[in-house]
Symmetry: C2
Subunit: 709 residues, 2 copies
Amino acid sequence: MTRGRSGLDALLDPASIAVVGASDDPDKIGGRLLRRLVEYGFAGKVLAINPTREVVQGLPALRDADQLPDGVDLAVVVTAAAAAPAAVAACARRGVRACAVLSSGFGELGAEGERVQRAMVATARAHGMRLLGPNCQGVANLASGAVTSFSSSFVNVTLRDGPLAVVSQSGAVAGMVAALAHGHTGVRFWVATGNEADVTVAELVDGVLDDPGVRVVAAYCEHVTDAPRVAAAADKARRLGKAVLMVKAGATEAGARAAVSHTGALAQPDAVVAAFLRAHGVVRARSLGELSELARLFAGAAPVRGNRVAIVSNSGGLGVMMADAAVAAGLALAELDETTRAGLGAVLPAFAATTNPVDLTGQIVQQPHLLSAVLPVLAADPGVDVVLVALGIVGPTYPVDTIAEDVAAVATEAAGRGVLVTAASVGGRPELAERLTARGVPTFADDAVCVRAVARFAEHCAQRHRPRPSTAPTGDVPLPEAPGGDGFLSEHAGKALMSAWGLPVVAGRLVTDPAAAAAVATATGCDPPLVVKLCSPAALHKTELGAVRLGLGDAAAVERAAAEVLAAGRRAGVEPIEGVLVEAMVAGGVEVAVGGIWDPVFGATVLVGSGGVQVETLRDFQLLVPPLDRADVVAAVRALAVHPLLSGARGAEPLDMDALVELVLRFSGWFAATGGALPEVDLNPVFVLREGVVVADALVRTRETRKGA
Amino acid sequence: MTRGRSGLDALLDPASIAVVGASDDPDKIGGRLLRRLVEYGFAGKVLAINPTREVVQGLPALRDADQLPDGVDLAVVVTAAAAAPAAVAACARRGVRACAVLSSGFGELGAEGERVQRAMVATARAHGMRLLGPNCQGVANLASGAVTSFSSSFVNVTLRDGPLAVVSQSGAVAGMVAALAHGHTGVRFWVATGNEADVTVAELVDGVLDDPGVRVVAAYCEHVTDAPRVAAAADKARRLGKAVLMVKAGATEAGARAAVSHTGALAQPDAVVAAFLRAHGVVRARSLGELSELARLFAGAAPVRGNRVAIVSNSGGLGVMMADAAVAAGLALAELDETTRAGLGAVLPAFAATTNPVDLTGQIVQQPHLLSAVLPVLAADPGVDVVLVALGIVGPTYPVDTIAEDVAAVATEAAGRGVLVTAASVGGRPELAERLTARGVPTFADDAVCVRAVARFAEHCAQRHRPRPSTAPTGDVPLPEAPGGDGFLSEHAGKALMSAWGLPVVAGRLVTDPAAAAAVATATGCDPPLVVKLCSPAALHKTELGAVRLGLGDAAAVERAAAEVLAAGRRAGVEPIEGVLVEAMVAGGVEVAVGGIWDPVFGATVLVGSGGVQVETLRDFQLLVPPLDRADVVAAVRALAVHPLLSGARGAEPLDMDALVELVLRFSGWFAATGGALPEVDLNPVFVLREGVVVADALVRTRETRKGA
């Protein structure tokens, strides 16, 4: 029993396929599969296993999986649930490389099914066999015709091979995505993972990217189980110049509840999911419609060099609407240069403007080649990265073939220079869109959809070309000396830790009695006004406790305040009390919050937002997933509602945003290096000043330290 | 020459049509029109006018328009531009009721064309004839077959009659909208207004609503010229239970620039356009795709009683995605009641959850009637207002006819109770969507699009059922005593005006010298701290001038401050100086801004937003168009980012939002009543306190008073 190829390779591109539960009845699942293999022209070896018949659909049948020859790549199990574990075990014993269990009746039914499912996986793993499913709709490779799925999407139309891979937990969703892609983009792989007892969506996304024929992966999942693998796959895609598109369902609380009831998986905080996917360049779609629209463009377009759009339309109104939509989607309207305007002036009617968007005017009816004359002029403008060909209603006299040929010729030439030519055919004759698509010009039936897809693509290309961040700090991460299990550090200990991470922390001292507090106030380097706060790992809401005194002008006030906050702490039963913090009071500047949350699946997540109470009330924050570079942090800070107050609004002097960015970078580097030892760190407020930033409060949650885990 | 019917009625539903410039060549515009009338079965009288032929397409031709008989409803002029004015004049003389000038070469070419165009309109008006165009693609009535447009949208497919009216400045856009509607919704009227020398989009929207067969108007314009008429039409639609959908292009600055270059019209501030349309219940679409999707639902659905959605799907994943999309779009997921859950439990497989969204599971393959069993149960739940039938990929064995019939039957029954049943068929067999549509169930091919359209429809129905606001103040609006032409009132005069409008203004007095200021400080009712400000209609930016002093504790400080701000004013050359305002300093609360802008087209527009410098920097504001009711203002305040600070965040005591709402209502009532005498009023800051609100600054711009204009 030799196993040459990896199980995943065998699953995705099998040379031999056994159907366990093969049926002579083409309406039964075990019959459908054999028929699909014939219809889709699979040229490899097919083995049918049926305990009661000698011949199934013309193939000699084996009695059971124990009779399989050595080295079968893929066995597909479609028996009743009760018979599946034995079939899986036999396949494993016979050295089958991968087994797809299409049978249902396992984990999705409850604890007992879950147990059986786990046992099947254990058997498979013991023999080095990979297992897809159970309760899944199977896998297909359209290049070889290895279609071992019972999905109707292979029947309603004949799917063709192409640059798209569809990887989905849900078979129904995989079917919908493939169906929506049909007519626009061919499909290389189609996989549904079902219960994901072994093989996951993440692993398959990674796997299909290795096929040189795949340009885009469209993935669907309701729960991300293996974030590092998703990240690795996304990084591979970036290296290879490919794209991963994903619908992660359960984005709202209601949706997440529904997903939980549907799959039994835990809800995942959507803001974290979004930050994680964005950090790794995974393009998120919010609906199947959007997924298919993006797939169409990403599969059909060469990388584009920028986001400056020129629009040419046979309807002035359509041009205006697409200009609106382009700006709203974050694209820039290209400023046409003098050469371009002169070129347009030479071919357009005298009364037509030579500005962007270009209106071909009613003249197009008399001169259908006007478009072909204008297009190369626009595509040659060095300030134009994308040319949107917006065709409204076109009459029966329009030479759609010629137009499609002309557009495709310009598109091909322009693609070589990083310029994208794409089309919207709105309400026009369907054959125009078909001919454009057939010639490789991604074409949309909706004006706004076209523009939004282009915006996402341009954004993706820009991100793809950015170097990967490399700002992680070096050396061992400083961690609390006595973490003391699950709990919180006192403010003093938290600030000491942040100091050790190299963050600027407000000047101050910890003392144990009011007299010592007064002494701090008279020491040099501690100019009034001062602040006095109770210091205890148990005092999380000091303001509410009455354990904070601000604006203290002299030693006497400090001494009095220290006595008061200690008394307030004792009154409230705070235990242990470490003492009193006497600190300089920060004046001026703007309060922000910087924090870290360690997500059980996604790991380090860093927050930057409005500070003070506002982080909770205004919900003005951005999440980032390390590793980060300067541009990531700058973009996040710019996206805050509070940003104008930082950048110097109404003529005020701008604050030190560089220092804030530096603080976030340093913090996120160390926080990521903790490996989860600190579930949560909350620096709030951090004052952004005219020069520098300073951390004025730090709340650090701990659990048992697992250094560098 | 009697004129029985109005010109607009004659234009929209002509009994007799003359084609001036009729051609025997069906490829020429004058030939196409005659052919369209035959193809679309127009049964009224058709008159062909051709100076050189006796017979045109089988019709005896008149030599010129002077030969027209009395009482022709509609003349369509398709001659060269040079011949059009004479033709229009002849039609006017012959008592033609409406004239559509399809010829181009007028205002769109420049000043000379504009002059000729104006002269044509003058001639028409002198004879009581209405004029559509020039430079337009004509008008069509699909009920009578009166198709007098050369648009290809009548040729590419045969448009059928139905409840949609398409009214558009752009003929190309009208064609696209009709083409996108085809297959979903029939079209009663199709009108393109072109240069709008006389008849406008607004007037036509108003006009087509009178036809009992019209349920929805889809309008497109690049410039709103006649806001009162749009408002009147929208109000008519509301009364009649109909809807007006509109794309107003030029929404972004870039789009607006493009629209300006395309139509020569001025850019309109989009936030004002949006507030105006929202105030009048006009449903705004952002693209032609969206317009057509909304038209499909609004034309096919009876009013719905609420926004609580139940989702039933043959794909759990699709159900989750639509639940996500529903919540994101502002719909609520219905909580199914006990009866419903028991009813679902009785028909669903044992392992299926009976929660919303309802997953029919793989069982649907064995039991295609499962959907028919589940649907009436969901539609009968008193907590369900909308049932979304989400059908993913459906196999060849699905009985699409039966499913469509079953869904349609439930939809019809539910519609009578204000419950909407609609469907998304995502990647499924096209015939399923077709059959559902044919049976009157609005059906979408995109999951997110379906949900968004439903959300807009539910919102529209809710607004339609709200009584019209009636909070306008009675009596003459107080206006500045000496408006003094274009300029500003001093802060004192502005506050006095706001007091006269019944708004609470901060306590204070205007004095002319420092000694008098000191006297105010010692008077009763003026407890320190106090504020001193320079008062002048010319001092708009007092803080920047150094002409404001805050937190003055006693009479001496007030006297000193008064001297200083007067000196600062004189130094800066401020002229005239009215004196010094001595006021109580408002403590606590949250600063908001309330303001009014008089738009030249849309009239009174009221702003409420974050106050202080934040209104400019944070851009946290909402615009409202009077008349307003309490619910409008409450919704606007709730939509502000600053709202959590008003409503009592983090356990703080909530502030007096009722008083803020009352202030906005009162302000907007009076501001609307000024009729434009005050181009701008800016109350900033207005302090919202625990009890009450108080206006702390008022900037009032004036122009020559036109009382009650």
